[in-house]
Symmetry: none
Subunit: 253 residues, 2 copies
DNA sequence: CGGAGGAGGTTGTCCGACAAGTTTCCGCAA
DNA sequence: TTGCGGAAACTTGTCGGACAACCTCCTCCG
């Protein structure tokens, strides 16, 4: 009904602060006002719970949020301490790939370093779920009718799956971000010159198949080599070599 | 003796075998890999608790952190939903190293992969400014009176300078962040047990000198080897091998 | 045929309990 | 008196259960 819908909308708009975020906001305010300074210890969870009239669970979730944002750090048996804002525990990378060629090149280089190692690690560490996901992504690439849409999504999934199979979620996070950004930029820049897509698609699938084959054999070195070949070829297709000399030497050691 | 001390340090570094940040990292990885996409509903707290072998409280704190960082939004009675996987072109890495051994190990692995390549690139690409900064940092390490303060800062500057000399600002950003986080965690947890500092300091400076020497000769492979030796030794000093077999094989190709 | 209402599932909050880690301080022995 | 071991107190970390608030869906009755 209408009244029900408007109520829902109202609840979404002026959503009364949830208890944990209310507590977190209060603590963050005390830090901002300087009443809690760097290195200071927060009141105990029991004290905070009593002060805000909530249970310890709510206080713990609030502190979990602050810790996740790098405002505080907890030590068992001691308490939670305010940390310096500048040494926050979050890394931000802004990659506007459409702006500059050198930016694009640097991001591609970082991606290559990580993806080659990720492939080698995936060959050794991947479990059955990882392997199934990789195979499934390759199959979707093969069956993709239009390369500009489903095919690109499957391509991205393939790389994400390999990175995930490395067993290191941080590698997977960085690779997933870089690959996603790069795909977005490529889609944006391409636009019209998709008449070569068919031919390129065949080469691309062949390269991915080589990676897949080495991974299924749990061949670490072969996987790394196949991934390296794929990335250098992809770089060439984009119009520039991955890097002159320097990378060539040490990308594989 | 030594191994016992290292184990003690490791136990001090890594608090609890289970922690919300491990769950949060896993969920964030699934989002990064694309397995969880925008609008998707997370598994229920009960399911997640069972999957990770923890209680619902831990899952709730993990989700509280994700919610605080804007990764998910939860609605009572419905569930938690992924919100805007990459609405902004920024990568966020949350590395709470003090919580979990696997987190620490994964971050160290990522750092090793990047720093070894960065050293090789720096040997080839570094200009005079870069080389001067690296030498200056090494000199500050040698002259540092107290290892727990100035020495650590100089050590960190050395690694940052090498990463910067790679010529790739994205590599430098990621390496600087990871190294800084790691150093910070070690400093934060160590506190009292600095009795080994003197002996470790000498070894540490010797390893850095080897890296410096190779860099000054513009020896890419030698720089990579020296950096690899330093990181594996540092990992051993912290009480665990960098990784069994897998990394050893492919870290150098 | 349609709307009210219940059943089942999910998050939000509370409570109590115990484990693990840290500091403080007391009492005993040299 | 002084040094040191260790108990005690305090704090965070984790667990399990319980119930309320809320949502969806299905059923039943008019």
């Amino acid at each position: 009904m209408k009244s029900r819908a408007s109520e829902e909308l109202l609840a979404t708009l002026v959503r009364s602060p949830q208890s944990p975020s209310r507590v977190a906001a209060a603590i963050r305010a005390e830090i901002a006002e300087g009443r809690l300074q760097e290195g200071d210890r927060l009141p105990t969870e029991m004290v905070l719970a009593a002060r805000f009239g909530v249970s310890r669970s709510v206080v713990r979730e609030a502190i979990a949020g602050l810790r996740s944002n790098g405002f505080v750090r907890s030590r068992q048996g001691l308490g939670a301490f305010v940390v310096s804002p500048r040494e926050s525990a979050t890394l931000r990378i802004d990659a506007d790939l459409t702006s500059d060629l050198t930016v694009f090149r640097n991001v591609f280089e970082l991606r290559a370093i990580l993806e080659i190692k990720a492939a080698a690690l995936a060959a050794v560490r991947a479990d059955e779920n990882h392997r199934a996901r990789i195979s499934e992504a390759l199959e979707r690439m093969r069956k993709a009718s239009n390369w500009m849409d489903d095919g690109v999504a499957a391509d991205l999934d393939f790389h994400r799956s390999v990175a995930a199979a490395s067993g290191n979620p941080y590698i997977a996070t960085v690779v997933g971000f870089l690959a996603g950004q790069m795909r977005q930029s490529i889609m944006f820049m391409r636009q019209n010159q998709n008449r070569f897509a068919e031919r390129l698609s065949a080469m691309n699938i062949a390269e991915h198949s080589a990676i897949h084959k080495a991974l299924m054999k749990r061949d670490a070195r072969g996987s790394a080599l196949a991934m390296r070949a794929h990335l250098t070829a992809a770089a060439k297709r984009l119009g520039y070599g991955l890097s002159p000399a320097a990378i060539e030497i040490d990308l594989l050691g």
